[in-house]
């Protein structure tokens, strides 16, 4: 019971609710409907239309294939179709946020990827005796990228850095699991004379 509630809570926390897009779309729909209704009422009362009478609008839609320039019509239609594709993408894509669930203890813990990244960077930096800012970590949905820039003359063992990062990640037991990639950027010769 509690587990199911927590599973749901974690899912809600790690996925976007799509609220902002939905609000924008609904407001546009409401505005369009209100505008159409206004034009109909104006026509009923015999007043001048705001932009076009309903009859004119329908005639325009009817003549759309013959409208000139044709390339303009096609470009406009393509833009509309593209907006449709984007909305479909928003509706179907999972909308994952940059967060991971931490499987520690019996509570639900959700951590921003940035927090994981800075913790791993700090751990790698201390363990490999690197200067401040020499370890950069990017945390993605399924992968962690560790980039280390050792100073001149300092040798860095990639496997060692990887094992440190993996050991730290092991303690977090992230869901979904992540793979570690390590890159070592050796300083160019003659650079960084300090």
């Amino acid at each position: 019971m509690t587990d199911r509630v927590l599973t749901r809570v974690v899912r809600r926390e790690t996925h976007s609710p799509r609220t902002a897009v939905t609000v924008v779309v609904l407001i546009l729909i409401a505005v369009a409907a209100a505008y159409t209704a206004t034009e109909i009422v104006l026509r009923l009362s015999g007043a001048a239309p705001l932009l076009a009478t309903p009859g004119e609008a329908l005639a325009w839609i009817r003549a759309l294939p013959d409208e000139q320039p044709q390339s303009g019509v096609i470009a406009g239609a393509a833009a509309v179709a593209l907006v449709g594709v984007v909305l479909l993408w928003f509706a179907i894509a999972p909308g994952r946020r940059a967060k991971h669930a931490l499987a520690v203890l019996d509570h639900a813990v959700v951590v921003d990827n940035g927090v994981i990244a800075s913790a791993i960077a700090e751990r790698v930096r201390r363990a490999s005796d690197l200067p401040r800012g020499a370890a950069t970590v990017g945390v993605g949905h399924r992968a962690v990228d560790v980039t280390v820039r050792p100073e001149q003359g300092q040798t860095i063992d990639r496997a060692h850095v990887r094992s440190i990062a993996e050991e730290e990640l092991e303690r977090y037991a992230l869901t979904p699991r992540v793979k570690v990639r390590v890159r070592v950027q050796q300083p160019a010769e003659g650079e960084g004379s300090s």
Partner: protein, 205 residues
């Protein structure tokens, strides 16, 4: 964390997206392909004449331009506007002011209701002493009829999230001992602009 119905959000986006995609594709086809243009013209003409017929046949009286058809169209538009507003108004919500409720009162403690403010105070005050945690916020919500506590903390940069989680869940567990009731708890550890500026300063030595 709130009670937004995400299924409705996605259904709205799906329906609108499908309509826009279909409309755009239809216009492209009609512009680029003569056969489709012919279909477009004839069906548009049929639709327009159907509307004219419907309007003239359902006219309320000869004196006005008002017709049953027009009233129907206006009613549909009003309905669309109302639905859009209702869906927007129903977004969010689901916050609760109660963290623990035990109204049966059959336990040794009798009826227990722990307010969110109590849990919030207890947890944020305890976390305020900790140097590695910059800010904390506690809210409560109801998910599937269960009260859930949501503790959201921003730790200093370079702090291990596992340690932060342990600290916070330790406090939640202490609260559970105090109140005699385990509350399902979500801990979110956030990064923020503040965390970046409050990174441990380099020691000068």
């Amino acid at each position: 964390m709130n009670a937004t119905n995400r299924g409705i959000n996605r259904a709205v986006l799906f329906a609108v997206g499908l309509v826009l995609l279909a409309a755009g594709a239809a216009v492209i086809l009609a512009s680029a392909w003569p056969t489709a243009a012919e279909i477009w013209r004839s069906s548009a003409a049929a639709a327009v004449s159907w509307m004219q017929d419907a309007e003239s046949s359902s006219a309320v009286s000869d004196a006005t331009t008002l017709s049953g058809f027009t009233i129907g169209v206006l009613a549909v538009l009003a309905f669309v506007i109302v639905v859009a507003i209702v869906v927007i108004a129903k977004l969010g919500g689901g916050r609760s002011s109660v963290v623990i409720r035990d109204e049966n009162g059959d336990g040794a403690q009798g009826a227990v209701v722990v307010r969110q403010a109590f849990a919030s105070d207890a947890i944020t005050r305890s976390l305020a002493h900790r140097g590695e945690i910059l800010t904390s916020r506690v809210s409560a919500g109801r998910v599937r009829g269960t009260d859930v506590l949501h503790v959201s903390v921003t730790p200093r940069q370079n702090t291990s999230p596992a340690e932060v989680a342990e600290t916070v869940t330790g406090l939640v567990d202490s609260l559970a001992v105090l109140t005699g009731r385990q509350t399902p708890t979500l801990v979110s550890v956030r990064s923020g602009v503040r965390a970046r500026f409050a990174a441990e300063q380099p020691r000068v030595d």
